[in-house]
Symmetry: C2
Subunit: 124 residues, 2 copies
């Protein structure tokens, strides 16, 4: 149950508790023209890239592998990584993982590879 908080304060774990679909990011904050998003992930995402922007991944709970064409990085809870713009990547989570993402507003989750996993992030 949500606690009584000041307007504008976002509790990350409470928000994640309202989300049940994988690979379906929710926007939780706007900083100028950037969005902070939360997402639950499980399994393999789509190989894709963002030609116009870097993308930050912060693992809030779990483990995430970010595969790139020339290497992979393994992220644990409390670790972050920035995928540089134009870099093909595929997030993979063997078990469910909770992420915070940061990128410009309007960034599409599947980048240059729209498909079944494309999800327009929303605030609710």
């Amino acid at each position: 149950m949500a606690t009584d908080k000041s307007p504008g304060v976002v509790n990350l774990s409470e928000k994640l508790g309202t989300m049940d679909k994988h690979w379906a990011p929710r926007i939780v904050a706007a900083i100028n023209d950037y969005h902070v998003k939360l997402v639950r992930v499980l399994g393999e995402f789509t190989w894709h890239r963002h030609d116009d922007t870097d993308e930050l991944f912060l693992v809030l709970d779990g483990q995430l592998c970010i595969e790139m064409r020339d290497r992979s990085v393994q992220l644990q809870t409390g670790e972050l990584f920035v995928v540089p713009r134009g870099t093909e990547h595929r997030p993979v989570a063997e078990q469910e993982c909770q992420l915070l993402l940061l990128e410009p507003a309007g960034t599409v989750n599947t980048g240059d590879k729209p498909g079944a996993l494309t999800h327009k992030a929303s605030w609710d």
Copy 2:
């Protein structure tokens, strides 16, 4: 002791473990022209505002009060808040608190009120 991680992966608590000065942010990631910073805080900061940018505060450990002229917000571990551009604010931590900040590169911690607490954020 640092574990063996992939290049570019930042472990937030390990990085904070190398920082001992209060109100002295370190840059840990760049996303386009934005910086993610970590900072340890204790006590009262300076009243100030940023006329050109919003500023995101995420509490990684501890509690933070962000005083504004018309209200205050209390943040617990795992909670975030965005101070809108142009809004006078003063962060206050009664006990030591660890924060993640997000703002455009070059944003000065004391905004329009340079002084003893002004600290140019650096990567190391």
